[in-house]
């Protein structure tokens, strides 16, 4: 969808055919004024709401999903990291993030536009398509809030809070923002024709592969592999899963930036893929261990949501079922077998679910792409385009992560809490608090 005008649109590909088709049957009022950009109150209403939904994914969705999975002595440290992600990333985004991701393209790698710094030059009346540009900017900002927060699952129960803030800030600036630009902001991956509707590469692969790098760098928890480390509060995990599912409607269908047929399709494929992956995951458990678990259902749901993210607007509901159903065994293989074999402590399986699920989703987008989603290329060509984006992300993100961590250890010393701190738990050692006094 290349709307006339000089601002880079987020989803440079794939909606054309669909929108053209829609245009024939259902000319929306705003289309009458195609020449002159006008604000559409329906699109704006949906995007206001989508901001709320994506924030809901981090706060409290992801916070609870992760917080419930750790031991009770560490739950607050996870909640804290999610809360401060909303604080620190929210500020980074307004101050420089929007400019780097969506400013004028620099070498296809990042963006810059001093008028976007601090949103100073973004007048309230400025539009992005049919919605206020401020709203577009904030919606994108919500993605920056959740993405580094996804990584905290990998180094849960051992990383110090100060270094976490430094790490996530550097990671945001050096990994997330450039990648967001490359895919959505006019950079080379998007220009190359890669399909990533709502963030398979930008959000899930970037955080998933970086998480693996961070887990390897920091080393396992002292107790890992010695004693069982079961979730301390499964109801929290389920609340988190549920809010992730609900919020993902804003994440995926909101990425259309309008309340239209494409948004509807994205919502349908999103929830359908989640259903399929949930069922698929518990069937695998039933076969493999004779018991379906709640954690399995929750993990399956999240994996399905991850997998459908890049292609949600490009596939049919039946394809969404296939994508979701197949994603569960792929992720399960990494979570339940590869991780154990390799011995790394990706504590809450960020790599296994987001890294692998995102990879599968990015490739499945090409494999299952509906005709209207392919912009004059064959499925094979699209798959090759996707592979380039996948390969780049799978290399760039973890390498940059390692460099950041090496630099930080040089400058800041140990990034982990002391052994004593790990024993008593991070809630007490890092925050002088106690989650429960029941």
């Amino acid at each position: 969808m290349r709307i006339p005008g000089n601002f880079p649109m987020r989803h440079s590909k794939g909606c054309q055919g669909l929108i053209a088709g829609v245009a024939l049957l259902a000319v929306s009022p705003s289309a009458h004024a195609a020449e002159e950009a006008v604000l559409d109150s329906g699109d704006t209403a949906w995007m206001l709401m989508s901001c709320a939904l994506v924030l809901l994914m981090t706060l409290p969705g992801l916070a609870l999903f992760y917080g419930g999975l750790v031991r009770s002595k560490n739950v607050l440290s996870l909640l804290m990291q999610c809360l401060t992600s909303a604080a620190v990333m929210g500020l980074i985004w307004v101050l420089v993030g929007y400019s780097i991701a969506f400013g004028a393209d620099q070498h296809g790698l990042w963006g810059w536009d001093s008028a976007k710094v601090g949103l100073r030059g973004v007048a309230p009346e400025a539009l992005h398509g049919t919605i206020p540009e401020l709203l577009f900017a904030m919606f994108q900002g919500m993605f920056l809030i959740i993405t580094p927060a996804l990584m905290i699952g990998a180094f849960a129960e051992r990383m110090r809070f100060g270094p976490y803030i430094v790490f996530s800030s550097l990671w945001a600036i050096l990994v997330y923002l450039p990648l967001a630009h490359m895919v959505w902001g006019g950079g080379w991956i998007g220009e190359d024709g890669a399909l990533d509707f709502a963030g398979g590469l930008v959000v899930h692969m970037s955080s998933g592969y970086s998480a693996l790098a961070a887990a390897l760098f920091l080393g396992p928890r002292k107790d890992y592999g010695k004693v069982p480390l079961p979730p301390h509060n499964m109801p929290l995990v389920v609340i988190g899963t549920a809010l992730l599912w609900v919020g993902w409607f804003g994440f995926n269908a909101g990425s259309e930036l309008a309340a239209d047929a494409t948004a509807a399709l994205a919502l349908v494929t999103t929830t359908t893929a989640a259903s399929a992956a949930t069922l698929s995951w518990i069937l695998i458990e039933w076969i493999h261990h004779g018991r379906p678990t709640v954690l399995g259902a929750a993990t399956g749901a999240v994996a399905g949501l991850v997998a459908i993210t890049p292609g949600c607007a490009f596939v049919t509901p039946l394809s969404a079922i296939a994508i979701g159903f197949l994603c569960a065994p792929i992720c399960y293989f990494f979570v339940a077998l590869v991780k154990i074999k390799m011995g790394y402590d990706d504590s809450l399986d960020v790599f296994g679910v987001h890294g692998i699920g995102g990879t599968w989703g990015a490739l499945a987008t090409a494999i299952f792409a509906a005709p209207f989603a392919l912009d004059g290329v064959t499925k094979g060509e699209q798959l090759w385009i996707q592979l380039k984006g996948v390969g780049f992300t799978a290399l760039y993100a973890p390498v940059a992560t390692l460099l950041i961590l090496v630099l930080m250890r040089t400058l800041m010393g140990n990034l982990r809490v002391s052994d004593e701190g790990e024993h008593v738990g991070l809630d007490q050692s890092e925050h002088s608090e106690n989650a429960y006094v029941l």
Binding site: P230, E285, L295
Partner: protein, 112 residues
């Protein structure tokens, strides 16, 4: 005075309490504990990994009784708490030197 500590399966608590009330026992103190013994723990699952939970939930009942009631009480608890399956628990009997009721300061048998 004797102290009788009974470690039983949690779901038997109500039956044991009822049986003891039947004997006219006026008081007991109950603690939630975890037991480890011949009874095997159960298996739990965590994302494709199985692990065994060794410690099983048990309930400990502390009963302070006059010496002459010990046998009767022990027998009653055994009957009420028995399922005949491994893990039914233990009863420990020990001597007590003194009992005081805080409200009144009474001592010995009167305090129970």
């Amino acid at each position: 005075m004797r102290k009788i500590e009974c470690i039983i399966k949690p779901f038997k608590l109500d039956e044991v309490k009822a049986a003891l009330s039947g004997l006219g026992l006026q008081g007991m103190t109950v603690t939630e504990v975890k037991g480890f013994g011949r009874q095997k723990g159960h298996t739990e699952l965590y994302r494709g990994a199985e692990y065994v939970v060794d410690f099983l939930p048990k309930v400990k009942i502390d009963l302070v009784v006059d010496d002459d009631r010990v046998d009767q009480v022990v027998e009653t608890v055994v009957q009420a708490a028995q399922t005949g399956r491994i893990g039914d628990g233990k009863i420990f009997v020990s001597a007590l030197e003194d009992v005081i009721r805080i409200r009144t300061g009474e001592q010995g048998s009167d305090a129970v």
